[in-house]
Each structure stands twice: as C-alpha cells, then as structure tokens.
C-alpha cells in the first residue's frame, strides 16, 4: 500500500477516537479540530520511527493526550496573561482564550451540569484527569489505561481514587 493510502487508512481507523478524546479534554469544537490535526501531523512525522513496543492505538492515545495537555497549558497561560495584563473579567478572558464550552457530544439537558463538572475536572492534576477521562469517557479497562499512561494498574487505581476524592471535595453537594 502506498504511504499516503496507508496514512489515510490509519486516519479513518483512529480519527473518531482522537477527535472525541480531544473534545473531552478541550470541550470546544474548534480547539478539538485543531488538536486532532496536530495529532495526525505528529503521527505522520513520527510513523517511520514507531518501534511497535506498544500497539499503534496506544501510541496514538499517548500522542493525543500529550497534545491536549500541551494545549490546555498554553490556554491557561493565555488566560492568566489576559487576566493580568489587560485586566479582563474572568468571562471575557475565558472567551478570548477559547475556553467556551462547545461540546457536540453533550445532550442539552446535561450541558449545564457537565460544564460545571468539567470546570472542576480541568483543575485536577494532569495524571488524575487523564485516568478519569480514559476510565469514564473512553471506557478503557484498568490494564489498557495503565498501558496508555505507562503505569502499573495499581498506580492507575490510586490515581482514580485520588481523582474521585478531589471531585467529592471540590464539587458542590447537589444530591
């Protein structure tokens, strides 16, 4: 198969997973589209160096997670600088830093609750956030999460229980 056709097949096999994971990290359509493009450009550049020590899916998961975490860091830096330098309000800074919630997979009746929940999930440390998203939105098994994150299943369990404890602490009790 010519390399271009091979890449096209690879894209069609993994694009849905990459795009949905990007949406769950970034909660915005445009941001997720840009992140998905970044992921596949990186995949294309690094494919020749892929050693096969993990499955292709796991490798693409890792690239996606790192790309999303980098974008989140850049976005938070932008928001902080907008708040600090231009004295914008929190809402104005969020809009300018493209932090507006625009997730096409969220039903209208869940939108408000998920927007609040994601605001708290975004504050979790990177590893806790990743473990939680892979477990809930991706529905991966403990061993699959462990493989993607390069940790032992025990370490993933511990990350998940810390993430849950943090969520309990930070979320307002609404019953």
């Amino acid at each position: 198969m010519p390399p271009q056709d091979e890449f096209r097949t690879l894209y069609h096999q993994h694009a849905r997973m990459v795009y949905n994971l990007c949406l769950n990290y970034l909660h915005g359509r445009e941001d997720a589209q840009e992140a998905t493009q970044d992921v596949f450009v990186k995949v294309h550049e690094r494919l020749s160096g892929f050693k096969g020590d993990a499955s292709l899916g796991t490798w693409i998961y890792r690239i996606t997670i790192n790309t999303c975490l980098d974008r989140l860091k850049a976005r938070n830096r932008k928001k902080r600088s907008l708040l600090g330098w231009f004295s914008l309000s929190d809402e104005q800074a969020e809009r300018s830093a493209s932090l507006v919630f625009d997730h096409p997979g969220v039903a209208a009746e869940d939108r408000e609750a998920l927007e609040r929940l994601f605001a708290v999930v975004d504050e979790l440390p990177d590893q806790q956030k990743t473990a939680l998203l892979l477990k809930t939105t991706e529905d991966l098994s403990m061993s699959a999460i462990a493989e993607v994150m390069g940790l032992s299943p025990k370490a993933v369990e511990s990350l998940l229980s810390r993430a849950r404890a943090n969520l309990r602490q930070r979320l307002p009790n609404e019953g």
């Binding site: 894209y11 694009a15 949905n20 294309h44 096409p104 039903a107 609750a113 809930t136 939105t137 009790n173």
Partner: protein, 86 residues
C-alpha cells in the same frame, strides 16, 4: 453531586464523528510542511562555521597589523589614534 453521579454524567457523553473536512486540512498541512533533508542541514551548518572561521582569521590578522599602521602614520606625520587630545 456524588462521584457515581459525576462518572455517570461523563459516561453519558455521546461519541461524535469528526467533521469530513478534517482529513483534507491535515493533508494540506502535511503538503505545506517543508522538510529540509539532514544532508542539507549539515552542509548549511558547515558553511556557517567556515564563514565564521574566515571572519575570525581576517579579524585576527587585522589586530596583528595595528603596529604597522602606527609606523606608516608616524612616517607620514599623522596621528593614528582617534583620541582628540593625546
């Protein structure tokens, strides 16, 4: 909101298809990326190093010849210094 409730809420997020134009955009980005071959990079680095070396040699030679300049200036009764009051 308890954690079971929050996890159920996260699990309720539907999976969506990426927009159809995304692959075209990726292809456009890939074709716009100019890849410089490693050999050309090495050649450019060597050329830059050679240029710097030639400059260093020329400047070193000029620094060494400042004594000759003073002799010529003395012989012609001129002041080689750029100091006004000497």
């Amino acid at each position: 909101m308890d954690t079971n409730g929050t996890e159920d809420l996260l699990k309720r997020i539907a999976r969506v298809d990426p927009p159809p134009f995304l692959f075209t955009r990726i292809e456009a980005r890939l074709s716009a990326t100019v890849r410089v071959p490693r050999g050309r990079l090495v050649a450019m680095a060597c050329a830059l190093a050679a240029l710097l070396l030639v400059n260093a040699v020329i400047l070193g030679g000029k620094a060494g010849s400042s004594g000759q300049l003073d002799e010529v200036a003395d012989a012609m009764g001129m002041n080689a210094s750029n100091q006004l009051y000497r």
